[in-house]
């Protein structure tokens, strides 16, 4: 039976202004028709009444690590990451993100492909969770694994190997390929940060970096794109961003230091920037409480202003920006990323909302074809907010109902904490 979702105020995520008194007719989990209430007179359908508050598309977090637990962190020397614990944490974080309105996600790097395992469990057991596009383990260059226990990555050398690895990995069930394009070959990261802090802002990066070659990246993109999959590139220094964009990746993750040439390349290639602001901000604001070495916090503070001004410049130039939390620190929430785009970067609330919805859909690859906007043929994934996010972006925290595939999937609850907790690992 069809479902009719009645709304009062609806923002469809295409960039169009809010609609009033519209409804959505849902068939098989997809939006069949959307329009003024009068169009649906006499429709035979079960009704979901969402006529209070404001309706927006379900959010997309295109850079998460649900299964990330500190023990399995690639910078730790854990001998045997606890895979069962990764799965349990993954299921719990997935449920929490759904309650925070995230109806689709991209998991960009998980040791032992535990995200692919999680996806299978979520589907089999029908657990509450966002739709998940999973990258599984990452690819990096020879020497790119941080230590013997860095189960997050596998190393390749040369375009042929990159192509073979990509094919094998897609065969393992990956929805996208995550490249660790640049890696810092420093024994002691804190020491590198201290050296960087001692230099003026415009000095060359003092780190020992290694990177994948354009040919290696291109081979990966070629194989992934053949089968409708996307490629996400973790990059830190500017030269790495350029390499990755020239290699044809779909998204740049972090992209901390952008110059004009980077922005031009983004515009030429149509790639999406996933700035993952909230992880840096969380480190900056909670680092002391989390017991991070002070140099990490200090480095984040030093970089913050230039980071957000570069991001603003990119946005103004027309670079597509999507939200990704990179939630790997306990306590982080999805909302932070969207709010920072307004509060720190200065985007208009509508632009932040588009970053949280429409802009991330392409990054999800095949999984994203039907995500991100409320239009016919798209997933009936939406969020009912108790307040207008275009008037105040912080209303995205005030979620009343989360609908996924035309069904009520989550109702945040202050008593249980669901929808108001942070990531945990």
């Amino acid at each position: 039976m069809d479902t009719l979702i009645r709304t009062s105020t609806l923002i469809d995520g295409t960039g169009a202004p809010a609609r009033h008194g519209w409804s959505l007719l849902v068939r098989d989990g997809l939006i069949h028709q959307i329009g003024p209430d009068a169009d649906f007179a006499g429709a035979e359908a079960a009704v979901i009444d969402l006529t209070t508050g404001v309706i927006v598309p379900g959010f997309l977090d295109v850079h998460t690590h649900f299964c990330y637990i500190h023990e399995a962190g690639f910078q730790q020397s854990a001998q045997h990451p606890n895979r069962a614990a990764m799965l349990l944490a993954g299921a719990d974080n997935a449920a929490e993100w759904l309650h925070q309105g995230v109806t689709s996600t991209r998991l960009v790097g998980t040791p032992f492909d535990m995200d692919i395992e999680l996806r299978s469990v979520v589907r089999g057991e029908k657990l509450p969770a966002p739709r998940m596009a999973c990258a599984g383990r990452m690819m990096t260059m020879v020497g790119g694994r941080r230590n013997a226990w860095d189960f997050m990555k596998e190393e390749i050398n040369g375009a042929d190997e990159a192509r073979r690895w990509t094919r094998a990995h897609l065969g393992r069930g990956a929805d996208l390929v995550k490249l660790y394009c640049t890696t810092l070959l420093e024994e002691n990261v804190a020491d590198y940060l201290a050296r960087a802090l001692a230099l003026p802002d415009d000095a060359p990066d003092p780190g020992r970096w290694s990177s994948l070659t354009v040919e290696e990246i291109r081979a990966v993109c070629d194989e992934a794109h053949k089968v409708g999959r996307t490629v996400a590139a973790h990059v830190a220094p500017t030269f790495g961003i350029k390499l990755a964009l020239r290699g044809g990746v779909d998204t740049i993750e972090h992209g901390t230091v952008l110059d004009d040439e980077c922005i031009e390349l983004f515009l030429q290639t149509g790639a999406t920037l996933v700035p993952t602001l909230s992880v840096m901000h969380y480190q900056m604001t909670h680092g002391d409480a989390l017991g991070l070495p002070p140099v990490f916090t200090e480095f984040a503070r030093r970089r913050w202003d230039s980071q957000v001004s570069m991001l603003r410049r990119a946005a103004d130039a027309g670079v597509k920006i999507a939200t990704g939390t990179d939630a790997i620190i306990d306590g982080m929430q999805y909302y932070d990323e969207v709010e920072l785009l307004v509060d720190a970067v200065g985007l208009a609330p509508m632009d932040a909302l588009l970053a949280a919805t429409r802009n991330g859909a392409g990054a999800l690859g095949m999984a994203g074809e039907k995500a991100g906007t409320l239009e016919p043929g798209k997933f009936a994934d939406l969020v009912q907010l108790n307040g207008d996010p275009l008037a105040d972006i912080h209303h995205i925290r005030d979620i009343m109902t989360v609908v996924q595939g035309g069904r009520v999937a989550a109702v945040p609850d202050r008593a249980s904490g669901r929808g108001h907790r942070g990531h945990h690992g």
């Binding site: 606890n82 895979r83 395992e117 057991e125």
Partner: protein, 396 residues
């Protein structure tokens, strides 16, 4: 100074000498450990009381054959991947604990699943019993026709046995599980299935037992044929499961060498009830259904001084220690002996010096609270009112 006192209509304290029922007394707990009994009237006012005035309290149950790798999930799905297996085991751990099992000794699982689960329980990331991991169960080379998720390792020869045992111990196994004999293939005729079995030699098993003993660990063997039981007795394993081929001649040897017997009766009973529709090879179902320890022999074993212990060894929802207790009772064991099989005897079959399985000072404050007195109604073990694990009330 004790922090908490548990009060109940009666505490069933099973000592080697007999059964003490503490009435009018409270059990003091301190830091998740038992501090001793004290008369209720002597309890200080400021102590926190956990009262079950109409219920009976016995030590937390011990399952010596928890099978996490292949647990059927709550939706009835049989796991095919590690993730599905881990998720189903998560549900099972919670169910086992809710049914009163506060310690579960694993029969092993693929890719360190039981070890990882045990750490999740310790870190309170998972609601479940204390899990005693075995990592990979060992089988004779060529006999690995097990589901991949059992995680079995093939062993051949004494040197190989030594190496594998050393590796398991190094990797964190708290017990070693061996399948002493395994059918080459399952056959529709159960007796054909059990006729041709690859089996460990006594030398191989003895080497595993020795390596385990040096690390303070016990070896548990699943053995089907009479010959495999002979080999297990010779090698000196600590406990033996299934033991379909048990005969009168084995009984004095088992008693003399202190080898406990886990007849896994609930497994056969459950498989018989579920039948081939549960997705097992027809030969396996009919073999398990057709071959069980004769009830009279089990009773004889008990009377000959063989310790009987509870082990579910089942991947089904229905399998639990309460069911095993009931089957042991049906086989002729008295209620107190059934309770010993599910608590103290089982604990001593897992560790040389256990700190769980009885109301002893300094031992883990694990208990199961039942509405009916299980000494009068054995089926009352399955009617769990509350569970206390490490001093924490889990349910009830």
């Amino acid at each position: 100074m004790a922090e908490t006192a548990v009060l109940a209509a009666g505490f069933i304290d099973l000592t080697p000498e007999g059964v003490n029922i503490h009435c009018g007394e409270a059990l003091l707990l301190d830091g998740g450990r038992i501090a001793g009994f004290v008369a209720e009237r002597d309890l200080p006012d400021e102590i926190t009381r956990i009262a079950f005035p109409d219920a009976f309290c016995l030590p937390g149950l011990v399952d010596t054959a928890f099978l996490p790798g292949l647990i059927v999930s709550e939706t009835g799905a049989r796991p095919e991947t590690y993730g599905q297996s881990a998720w189903a085991a998560k549900g099972a751990a919670d169910r086992w604990l809710s049914s009163g099992v506060t310690t579960a000794a694993s029969m092993g699982g693929a890719e360190r699943l039981d070890f990882d689960l045990s750490r999740c329980v310790l870190a309170r990331k998972l609601s479940g019993p204390r899990i005693v991991p075995a990592l990979s169960p060992l089988v004779p080379t060529g006999a690995a026709k097990f589901h991949r998720l059992y995680g079995v390792r093939e062993v051949s020869g004494r040197d190989d046995a030594r190496r594998v045992a050393r590796e398991l111990i190094k990797q964190g196994a708290d017990r070693i599980v061996v399948y002493a004999d395994v059918p080459l293939e399952f056959h529709p005729d159960p007796f054909e299935t059990s006729r041709h079995r690859l089996a460990f030699s006594a030398d191989e098993l003895a080497e595993i037992v020795m390596q385990a003993a040096q690390a303070g660990l016990f070896v548990h063997a699943q053995a089907i044929s009479s010959k495999a039981i002979d080999v297990c007795i010779t090698a000196g394993v600590r406990s033996m499961g299934c033991a379909f081929g048990l005969s009168e001649a084995h009984l004095p040897l088992l008693a003399q060498k202190g080898i406990a017997l886990a007849p896994n009766l609930a497994l056969g009973a459950t498989i018989s009830e579920l039948g081939p529709g549960a997705g097992f090879p027809a030969g396996a179902v009919s073999m398990v259904a057709a071959q069980r320890i004769r009830p009279d022999l089990l009773l004889q074993a008990h009377e000959a001084g063989v310790q009987i212990i509870c082990g579910t060894n089942t991947a089904f929802l229905a399998g639990d220690v309460a069911r095993e207790c009931l089957e042991l009772h049906r086989a002729g064991l008295g209620p107190a002996d059934v309770l010993r099989a599910a608590t103290g005897h089982a604990a001593h079959a897992l560790r040389p010096s256990p700190d769980f399985g009885a109301f002893r000072r300094g031992w883990a404050a694990d208990m199961v609270i039942t509405r009916r007195n299980p000494l009068e109604h054995v089926e009352g073990i399955g009617e769990v009112h509350a569970v206390v694990s490490g001093g924490e009330v889990i349910r009830g």
